[in-house]
Assembly symmetry: C2
């Protein structure tokens, strides 16, 4: 086996070449890279000076690291010397200027680099440049190698491991990039001591820093990453690259077996969070558009297929990607995709983490399938949102109950340099920005990250009978999110024959000592069609509250206090009706996000809130999807919901019976948190004929 | 030539059959119809009773007329007797019940039918059923024919021509459906006297009613239809079908030559309004999603290709359609599409109508090309909006300056039965809902349709130098929209080298006697990025005004009075910056649509307003598109605009010079409405180096 670069042999490069000019995933990636490189050849080598985040200089440096890697790789794959020369000339250009370049000014808690304001970007840069350099083996003179290694790589490595030694051993996604960059550069330049530091940490113990400690500590037993999918896909990128480099060049480490195949678990944990449209749910700080075409996800899928197994649901997901890793595993995956069925069963998953965890309830197949995310695990450190027992729901191609996501215009320079905006703390992280019950108009754990990090939710039940009677349920609770109040939530997806989409039955039990204000809130997308019952619209919009995100909400209108509410909205081609039964009379409000936002950092989105003042309360909600609307063809069906009313009985302290009255039939369901087994937790009787 | 149905010969049906199982436009239509019919065969024949608009019954009757036509046509095309039987059984089912069915209750000014609440739907029903019946020739027994003609067609025809004789001769899109339905049924059932009535009107004069009078009076010389594209595409459907029937069966009428080829002009006039993405601009009452896949548009395109010429821009448009007419002309068009280039030059067009008209300024090719619509023609009768000198602008795949469209949830039964909502008069039609200058916070012509119908705007200049120096301009004016105030607007699209998209330079001259309030308003889509300069956000949102649509606008915030304003927004992958110079200091406001809307009939959209109190004022606006943003890949470029400032000089009463100061250069442009020729109207000097 003759290596032609750190991660590619000659034979593998030839295998990859076989996909050129084909319409496979790998063929797509190759033609995109060719287009990028041909444009770059026309533009020539440009090594700019220093600039602000989001500036031309910043963007060009980022792009140049990609070019160094892509040009070297495609030079080898396509046997094109012009590409190899481009990679070489870029490296030489940086080697010329890097040593004498001054440090940038720090803009956040990250130490500054030279090319970039935060060292993280410089780690990413080195990793890409090192991979590219490894592929130029044999294309560079000894002088050129010396020039690049001493002028560029050495000062970078010194900066990372000496100047910022304090940052190198941090167990964090940034730390993972640091060790992967240093380790890969060490392997490429033959510096074993650097590789050891990267693997074992600066102290060589593998206990407090380095790649092995990162693998052990950064992910739960199930591979769950506490910051959420958005940062998980970012962390998995260096995780997979460095693992693959070590698997090839330090096979004795058995890296893919480490921690009970922790890397494989982590890849599966990430991928099981993906919505049917390929986007990641925006749990914790996250954009609403990050998807499986992210480079790290492409690599992770390929690595899983190559090093663990090409399991059917991952191959089905790969088929949704617009490209794959340019690597033998990408080639294998592309071949697997060609031979795989279009659709397959996607199992529901509970990602445990101690007593808590994150549940992913899934029903159906294909792009219009259903996926409910229920969060009852850890907080998520500095990127955590106060969203314990929060849910999001994706169905029929759209997120029906939405996450707001982060408040950040990433890389948009005029928006605070593209960094997190004040409204991220002020609104996006606060409990009221999510789909849950807020107590006393305050965020969970008082909105205190340190406190929240010490707590987590508890998953009490998890039942997957999707294949049996079309029912999936989860029950979670928290005792410590609010002093003196316990919250328990049951989320049930239930397929009923009449409709393409399952009902979402959402039961929240709030129990407090003394009197509290309980706000059941959710975020629908699209247009309100109608509130069933009288609705008073406000002429003048006033702010709802004074803090914890309430200061960013206007009240658009309300319904009088009642134990029953219903409201229908339209999003895309489908109607959804929210039906609520509340134990105590609740005032329902329609809200609008965007108050107290002088810099236009928030999106004007709708929220619905149902408010009760009581010691305890039980909210039983049914989200019924129905009908069809296509404006262009002027076609509409079933714009009214089918469900007439909800009746609720408390059979005991822990047993709740919910009866759904449809025009032609009655469906009845009970939950019993006290039941010993999961089989007895939920009882469902459907299809009884009504006798009136 | 053996007719197998009114519009199809055996040979033509064979030609159509040749497209089955192919991926041509016609092949697509055939497979969609097959799918529809196979579902219908499974469901069986269902003839329901009477129902509300948007109800199951209403929808089923509508669908059944389609089924009768489609099943007969596909039965002949695919030589499938099951389809022919389905068509027959549906006709027999209706013949069984129709005569004794009571009349519905009228819901608007339209007389009621039996199947539907408005007679219009019953006309459409008869037209489709008659075409289907014509194709069953030879498949029905004499008894069956007698049963269908006496039980179904005769009572319908009596209703249309006797009971509602007063409505039959109306020159209106409804009247066009009436004569087409009666004429086509008359041709199919061999009742010449009915055909004569449909062609010449009830009095036989061709002067006040009937198809010939409709052709002469409903469309301007240029084929422009006063109600706007949304109703034009609805009127063109019966226009083309009946014309084609007469061309075949009354060739002596030379129908396609009538009125200087008025039908061909009308088709071209409609199609030249289409945006690059295939949707129609929402001028006057219109949905924002109606597009060229509407059945009427598919037929019109095919008829133009077959009866006039398959001109390149229409073939390019046909290539964007997802189907075509199942007819020999559809087959010809599908063949033409296969052999046509993907993209072609789309010419700018001025649709004249007396002194006024509608200008369509077009630049570029392909899906990201640019299209500005400027309205300075007639009002549009009951569907007219008070939008004289209004503009909309489509560029880079999106409408950048938006039309609100109608306020109607078509066929959504819980929204006022799917009919026009009160907010259509209250907001959507009002001047402030458009992109223009509103005077004294009132709509044009006092919001009086009758007055507005007697007036129209005036096009003063129209210059297309797109091929020469990338400049297209139009100038229009009105003297009578407001008493004592004249308004003139210049819209200029100007390609400048630096950017993919042209600048839109928008100059409004308002001249009044006495003091007035001038509100320059426009509707951006997407997210506000930044107001350049200090912006005060309101905590509490108050209503802007008391009538003419102002009661539906909240004030979100404002900038202090100034002669210069700039604001950047992001929509899709592109930024747009609005730069304004105002002769007198203007107060700029950010507004939100949706106040005083207790029924949730309005969409919460943004508006920008710049307000001046003065006798006269000159607003010079530049809309600069710039940069790129893709959140998923976290890539952003050029989020700041390039244009530094605008300087304006009045060189004479009619000559205005605008200087655009960019960092590296100055561009200067002047308009002179007093210039004799269009060549001298606009002077442009670009690319001068700056001397400071």
């Amino acid at each position: 086996m003759q290596m032609s670069g750190l991660l590619w042999t000659r034979e593998e490069l030839a295998q990859i070449r076989g996909h050129a000019h084909r319409s496979t995933q790998l063929g797509q990636s190759l033609s995109e890279l060719r287009e990028e490189l041909d444009q770059a050849l026309t533009a020539g080598v440009v090594v700019p000076g220093q600039g602000e985040p989001g500036s031309y200089e910043h963007n060009t440096h980022k792009h140049n690291a990609k070019l160094i890697e892509h040009a070297a790789l495609m030079g080898r794959v396509m046997e094109n010397n012009a590409y190899l020369d481009l990679s070489r000339d870029l490296l030489l250009g940086y080697a010329q200027v890097y040593r004498d370049m001054p440090f940038q000014v720090a803009r956040n808690t990250n130490p500054p680099g030279k090319l970039f304001h935060q060292i993280l970007n410089e780690h990413i840069w080195l990793l890409g440049a090192s991979l590219g350099y490894s592929l130029l083996n044999g294309h560079l003179s000894a002088d050129e190698c010396e020039h690049i290694e001493s002028g560029l790589f050495k000062p970078m490595l010194d900066m990372f491991t000496v100047t910022y030694a304090h940052d190198f051993d941090r167990i964090h996604n940034h730390g993972l990039w640091a060790v992967a960059a240093v380790g890969i550069c060490g392997l490429v330049t033959g510096q074993d001591e650097l590789v050891d530091k990267a693997v074992l940490g600066l102290d060589g113990s593998a206990g407090t820093g380095g790649f092995l400690a990162q693998i052990d500590k950064l992910f739960s037993q199930d591979g769950y990453y506490v910051e959420g999918p958005y940062y998980h896909r970012f962390a998995i990128h260096p995780l997979c690259l460095f693992a693959e480099a070590l698997a090839r060049h330090r096979p004795g480490l058995n890296i893919y077996e480490r921690g009970g195949q922790r890397i494989g678990r982590s890849i599966r944990a990430l991928l099981c969070t993906v919505y049917p449209d390929g986007r990641f749910p925006a749990l914790n700080d996250a954009s609403r558009s990050m998807d499986i075409d992210d480079e790290g996800v492409q690599i992770a899928l390929a690595v899983h297929a190559g090093r663990y197994a090409p399991v059917p649901e991952l191959v089905a997901m790969a088929a949704q990607q617009n490209g794959t890793w340019v690597h033998r595993f990408g080639a294998q995956l592309a071949d697997a995709v060609e031979n795989a069925p279009r659709s397959c069963h996607i199992p529901s998953v509970l990602l445990a983490d101690g007593d808590g965890g994150q549940a992913h309830l899934k029903l159906g197949e294909g792009a219009r399938r259903h996926h409910l995310v229920f969060a009852a695990g850890q907080h998520g450190m500095g990127h955590g949102h106060f969203d314990l027992l929060g849910l999001t729901f994706f169905s029929g191609g759209r997120e029906r109950l939405k996450e707001y996501g982060f408040c950040r215009w990433l890389n948009v320079e005029p928006k605070f340099g593209g960094r997190y905006l004040p409204e991220n703390e002020g609104y996006a992280k606060q409990s009221v920005a999510h789909n849950l019950v807020v107590v006393d108009q305050a965020s969970q754990h008082g909105g205190n990250h340190r406190l929240a990090d010490q707590c987590h939710g508890c998953i009490e039940k998890f039942v997957d009978r999707g294949d049996v009677d079309g029912l999936i349920a989860v029950c979670g609770s928290t005792e410590d999110a609010y002093p003196g109040v316990s919250l328990r939530r049951h989320c049930i997806l239930l397929e009923i024959g009449r409709s393409e989409a399952p009902l979402l039955i959402d039961i929240v039990e709030a129990k407090g000592t003394g009197k509290h204000c309980y706000d059941y809130v959710f975020s629908p997308a699209g247009q309100i069609v109608r509130w069933w019952g009288e609705f008073s619209a406000r002429d003048t919009l006033e702010v709802l509250g004074v803090g914890h995100g309430y200061q960013h909400l206007w009240v658009v209108g309300e319904q009088a206090s009642s134990r029953e509410h219903a409201m229908t909205w339209l999003d895309g081609d489908r109607f959804t009706t929210w039906h609520q039964y509340s134990e105590h009379p609740a005032e329902a409000m329609q809200l609008l996000v965007g108050a107290n936002d002088p810099e236009h950092n928030l999106r004007h989105e709708k929220k619905i809130m149902s408010r009760v003042h009581a010691g305890s309360n039980l909210f039983v909600n049914v989200f019924e999807q129905h009908g069809y609307f296509d404006e262009a063809s002027e076609c509409c069906r079933n714009a009214r919901p089918d469900l007439n009313s909800i009746a609720v009985k408390r059979l005991s302290e822990e047993r709740i019976e919910v009866t759904l009255n449809f025009p032609q039939e009655v469906k009845s369901l009970s939950v019993d948190t006290g039941a010993a087994g999961e089989a007895d937790y939920i009882t469902y009787r459907g299809g009884d004929r009504r006798h009136d």
